[in-house]
Amino acid sequence: MQVKINNKNRSFNGTPFKRLIDVLREDFGLTGTKEGCSEGECGACTVLLDGKPVNSCLISICQVEGAAIETVESLGLPEKLHPLQESFLREGGAQCGICTPGMLMTAAAYLKAGGDPSPDAIREELAGNLCRCTGYQHIINSVAKALSENKK
């Protein structure tokens, strides 16, 4: 079956009822996407499915045939960060980093949609991504900063 991953057409020939997260990590080596709870609560496995954040631990590959998947690897590289990653770096949005890829993907969709930069709106948008390190405030600041720079 065909699926577009990070803007590249890929074919997958494994078992059709394999979780998207496992396909990404095991079959395509995209280990940036993390598994935190396996039940759609923590959001660490968030990827974009046709532009919308979803939990890749709750999706079977058979459900996304022909769809476009984006993972954290689609954003930037360590030496050339995406503006959102740059603002996370400058505003302290990442600590242990395990929730970060999922958090970034939810934020990336919000950024693309030109979301409301108020802290309350951002908090609501990110409520499906648990973080145990930061207490969220620096993440909120990071997203707000990326949104404001996007508008410039």
Binding site: C37, C96, R123, A127, R132, G135
Partner: protein, 730 residues
């Protein structure tokens, strides 16, 4: 340009932000098998037999039980009472009994459905308040608390209770193990304390230390939960690797991690306090009991930190504290940020509300009459000689929160019948000892090095683990400033016991102050050595390279290693619990503003103001991140988090029902860093990691008291408790 005091970018940030940082489950290893753990299902029983049932392809798998252990069947820590695999008896539910490895992860998990354990039940103790098996006790005595209590103007007596807490790092525990051709055991995984693991593996495998190598993978949060537990998972993975003769990876799922690994110790604290007419604290009589779970783990040290913080940051001439930790047939409790102090400080702080009720003097005013200052004597007789920023913290919070006015506003709001909520603002102030307790640092004999390589790079060698707290950046800033070179010139060696010395564990708010201090000294010595050769520190890499070659001579690097030296004037007596329990203390104050919905009794946290004296913020952004993050964990403990047990098994061992705060539950926080430098800390720095965990819970309870008139000497305070309380009041 100096970097200390400035927000330098997180060294490992770009890798974490791009998904290129490799956590244990991300590291590709060819031919690796997956290990899983067979666990007991009952709290206390004789194990009559383990059966491996038909229907599973056992030939494809490797199975390990206690009899496969080459050396001692124990998890070496303080007491060697905990078996690595239960042998003939299980002392708590979810105790590891056997291990299974299979090439396929899902198949390995499926194997667990084909194992049957037969038990002969034994009597079990699940409620620690009923346990009579005392594992350790401590006492602190100062003055005559009994006599002083009798003479006190007002006295109060309250029993406080705090529950377990799950660390809830988003990355579960995970470890890989393999044996090198020369017999060296290698472990790589998610961990805080690599040398703990080296020491724990020695008796199990009868290997000398140099044949055990531990490498930290990028670690997705620890908070104490990866302090001692990795000893167990390391032992398990290594046993499987030995028997399977191939690399093994064990990655817990959320359910296993939550139900089987360590938690914060629950505690019950009977707290009596007396004040005189001037509102001065004259007597404290405190009895602390904590629940160790089935084995000792780090419990005595947790209890020790608990008792040493039990009197709060206040002067009191007459103190009597007794602390004990008891055994139950529940999964062992262990390290969690704060390490005993959040438990006892909850009682110490919330008791002021009771004293305020008794004396009709405001709880904050009462505290202000008793705050420790330079020259104050703590319960152990320790005299505070320097770096006491408590009053500054208190004043800052009161001012920035408009505390008194806010409280008045809330009283008015609460009187209005039409208000949809009840509002409250609560206050607390605490201290937290930096570094290991008492003589701990002396026993640890920590080492750390700064090297100059022949290629002209400065490399820090330390076993301190970056677990998200920002130690990489913080330590690099300390070293770059001590050397007088750019931050970018300094890097960290991989945290690998074959490459770095034992700097002690990454715990106890000690990394910046203690290990940072060692590195500061090493860097200063290195600077002197360079200056001897080159007059001044080179400003270009080319010149530096020349100097490096001269210094290193025949070796590849020039290395300065420093070791912890106890300051001569710090003395602690472990037997009498008298003396200087910690070299220095951090101080903090907080105000929590919240409201309770009159229809649903839900608690909405509106705003936090906190000021924390940490000596010196090496990297203010990282420090602020520690404060906000720790505060959030504590707020979770105060209003949501409670593992629920049935027959000694955690019932809510998943994120659906073990509730931690989301972004929407977490209030905005106003954080002020107070800097009262500590002369022995690098650039004046003290510890910061744990203190934010100590302080929010009592302030939440105080705020709920103002809002609803209900006093809860226990947490979490839930809407259910408030509803029941309101119904009782009528």
């Amino acid at each position: 340009m100096p970097t200390v005091g400035h927000d330098r970018l997180r060294k490992e940030g770009p890798q974490k932000l791009t998904g290129t940082a490799l956590y244990v489950d991300d590291i590709p290893v060819k031919g690796i098998w997956h290990g899983v753990t067979v666990r007991s299902s009952v709290a206390h029983a004789k194990i009559k037999g383990i059966r491996f049932l038909k229907g599973f392809p056992w030939r494809q798998a490797v199975v390990v039980t206690a009899k496969d252990i080459p050396g001692e069947n124990c998890v070496h820590l303080i007491e060697d009472d905990q078996p690595l695999l239960a042998d003939g008896i299980t002392r708590h539910a979810l105790e590891p009994v056997a291990l299974i490895a299979h090439p396929d992860r899902a198949t390995a998990y499926n194997a667990l459905n084909f194992v049957e354990i037969n038990y002969e039940p034994l009597p079990s103790v699940l409620d620690f308040e009923k346990s009579k098996k005392i594992l350790k006790t401590f006492s602190i005595k100062k003055g005559d608390a009994k006599k002083a209590m009798k003479k006190a103007w007002k006295k109060v007596d309250t029993t406080f209770r705090v529950p377990h807490q799950e660390q809830a790092y988003i990355e579960n525990n995970g470890m890989m193990a393999w044996f090198e051709p020369d017999g060296t055991l290698v472990l790589q995984g998610s961990l805080q304390c690599p040398y703990y693991i080296v020491k724990a593996m020695k008796p199990i495998f009868k290997l000398p230390e140099e044949k055990i190598r531990v490498i930290q993978a990028v670690t997705g949060g620890g908070f104490g939960g990866k302090e001692e537990y990795p000893n167990i998972i390391s032992g398990h993975a290594a046993l499987l690797a030995k028997k399977a003769k191939r690399p093994i990876k064990m990655i817990y799922d959320r359910h296993e991690d939550m139900s089987a690994t360590t938690k914060r110790h629950p505690a019950v604290i009977k707290h009596k306090a007396g004040i005189d007419k001037k509102g001065r604290l004259v007597a404290l009589d405190i009895d602390i009991v904590m629940d160790a779970g089935a084995y000792v783990t780090l419990s005595p040290v947790v209890l020790s930190r608990g008792i040493l913080h039990a009197s709060g940051p206040y002067e009191c001439p007459n103190v009597n504290i007794h602390a004990s930790i008891v055994q139950t047939n529940t999964p062992p409790n262990g390290a969690y940020r704060g390490f005993g102090a959040p438990q006892t400080l909850f009682a110490a702080e919330l008791q002021w509300e009771k004293l305020a009720d008794a004396s009709k003097i405001d709880a904050v005013k009462l505290r202000e009459r008793n705050l420790v200052k330079i020259g104050s004597e703590l319960s152990t007789g320790q005299i505070l000689k320097e770096s006491v920023g408590l009053k500054k913290c208190v004043d800052t919070v009161l001012k920035r929160s408009r505390f008194t006015a806010l409280r008045r506003d809330h009283d008015k709001w609460n009187k209005k019948k039409t208000s949809p909520t009840w509002r409250g603002v609560g206050f607390a102030s605490v201290h937290h000892g930096s570094g290991f307790t008492g003589n701990g640092e002396v026993f640890l004999k920590s080492k750390a090095s700064v090297t100059l390589t022949k290629s002209g790079r400065f490399v820090i060698e330390t076993a301190s683990s970056e677990i998200g707290q920002g130690s990489m950046s913080t330590l690099c800033q300390i070293v770059s400033d001590a050397l007088g070179v750019p931050y970018e010139w300094v890097e960290l060696e991989a945290n690998d016991t074959s490459r770095v010395p034992d700097s002690g564990p990454t715990v106890a708010s000690r990394t910046c102050m203690i290990v940072g201090g060692l590195l500061y000294r090493a860097a200063k010595q290195l600077k002197a050595a360079i200056e001897e050769k080159a007059k001044k520190i080179p400003t270009t890499p080319a010149v530096l390279k020349e100097v490096a070659k001269k210094l290193a001579g025949k070796k590849s690097v020039f290395r300065i290693t420093t070791e912890y030296e106890k300051p001569a004037d710090i003395e602690f007596d472990d037997t009498t619990y008298k003396g200087d329990a910690y070299g220095s203390y951090g101080y903090a104050a907080i105000a929590v503003d919240l409201e309770v919905d009159r229809t649903t009794y839900e608690i909405k946290l509106n705003k936090i103001w906190t000021a924390q004296d940490i000596g010196k913020a090496i990297n203010p952004l990282i420090v602020e991140g520690q404060i906000i993050g720790g505060t959030t964990q504590a707020l979770g403990w105060a209003v949501f988090e409670k593992p629920i047990y049935k027959n000694g098994v955690m019932q809510n061992a998943e994120f659906t029902n073990y509730i931690i705060p989301t972004a929407l539950d977490t209030p905005p926080m106003d954080v002020v860093i107070i800097e009262e430098p500590y002369s022995r800390g690098p650039f004046g720095a003290k510890g910061v990691g744990e203190m934010p965990m100590d302080i929010p819970a009592p302030a939440v309870c105080a705020a709920i008291k103002q809002a609803t008139g209900l006093f809860f000497p226990e947490i979490p305070v839930t809407p259910e408790m408030i509803a029941a309380g309101i119904a009782r009041k009528g």
